[in-house]
Symmetry: C2
Subunit: 226 residues, 2 copies
DNA sequence: TCATTCCATATTGTTGACAATTCTGCAATC
DNA sequence: GATTGCAGAATTGTCAACAATATGGAATGA
């Protein structure tokens, strides 16, 4: 949590908030007050502001001038959008990877899936959330394309928020088994199978969301009427 | 340039730098010193830092801790990546728009193309650059998808930088004629034609870049050797 | 002559205080 | 009883000074 100097870095603050949102401990609409957060993390407000700006970039919080930062409240349309774009972008990712993947990358992917299995077996929610998003991020990183990676970073962050808001079931079925299948299809350069599995996987994840109604987990009247 | 109080907003600083990069007046590798910029815009360093953070998010500058902010130097691979992703994302955009577009949106698109024609006729470089990127951005905005819009915003910003670095010709052939054709294909709901025209248009833009060699427009020895 | 060390300078990073804005509770008014 | 106006409190926005770090060149020694 702290580095050599006992201070918390911006990245650590961002990750902490990100996880709190993904774990539903921070609900959409809640205001993230700077001074309050500065006290919690024991850093100056400037660093908190920097973290909030990053979280805004990632679409997790919404900053209103002179009002403050609030946990984002994605609409059903936005949720569908994110999955729509994910389908196309992740298809690109898989197609690229099927053109050939190094031994080292294969190893990294398999090891990641192994970690996911362990987290699932031990039922450690924090790890499950981090690793299941991390898998898709790792795929993008493996393509070697900085831009694909950056795009997926955005998509995964927003997906976490959407999952937190609209998830129906309590279990995370974006599980290691489907991930493992995708990896194996990629290492055998089977483009058709890999893209089909990825498409199916994303449909599966989306199907576990209830995207029929607007969920309002907050009690902020102002936001509800805006 | 200035608001009521005579101060320059963060957004204005970002746009100014963005344009300077697109117009090749700020070259890749050049360091953007905070104090220097604060003096130029007559604001405090804090505001400059905020603007630099935004520019980093857009991929236009690279911030190295304890070293400073430098105008990004996209590699040939990164350049190809951006156009690769643009082809898929803009295809999505066009497909969506072909499903139906309102009268008001049609009007906005046609008016935008008209503005582009005027800028081209009058040969106002600043307007040409802003409007030709703005066209693609307007298409994304018209889909109504916040995420598609945000993604295109990123892509256009990076494309501007890439064009500035790797452009061969002096003329901007991302001209209004091809844009006009795309708009007309969209308003007639001709998906095949619209996607074909968009693909061709992007190929055209990319073809005017020289993506065979690493261009180093800067004179910063350290950066050149890094 | 070349490599290395050290110090002065320049630049970024951080902090706490102050200014501007917004929110909240209460009282006065219709 | 509901609404408006106002003052105090809470919160965000801005700034300028200070601390930490990196840079570049001179001095030193092989």
């Amino acid at each position: 949590m702290t580095d050599q100097n006992g201070a918390v870095s911006v990245e650590q603050i961002v990750e902490k908030v990100w996880l709190s949102i993904a774990e539903r401990r921070l609900r959409p609409g809640v205001q993230l007050k700077e001074e309050q957060m500065a006290a919690i993390f024991n850093v100056s407000r400037a660093r908190i502001r920097q973290a909030l700006a990053t979280l805004q970039r990632d679409g997790l919080v919404m900053i209103i001038p002179n009002r403050g930062a609030f946990v984002s409240k994605p609409s059903v349309e936005e949720a569908r959008d994110v999955f729509f774009v994910r389908r196309t972008v992740e298809r690109c990712v898989v197609e690229r990877l099927c053109k050939g993947i190094s031994k080292a990358d294969t190893k990294r992917l398999r090891e990641h899936v192994a970690k996911e299995r362990i987290a699932n077996a031990d039922d450690i929610t924090t790890d499950i959330i981090k690793l299941s998003g991390g898998f898709h991020l790792l795929l993008a990183e493996t393509t070697g394309s900085d831009f694909l990676f950056a795009t997926m970073r955005d998509l995964i962050a927003r997906s976490s928020l959407i999952t937190a808001v609209y998830r129906n079931t309590n279990r995370f079925n974006c599980g290691p088994d489907e991930h493992a299948e995708i990896v194996e299809a990629i290492v055998t350069n089977d483009v058709d199978k890999a893209t089909r599995l990825m498409a199916h996987h994303l449909e599966h994840v989306e199907s576990e969301l209830d995207l029929t109604e607007i969920r309002d987990l907050s009690h902020d009247l102002r936001a509800a009427l805006a």
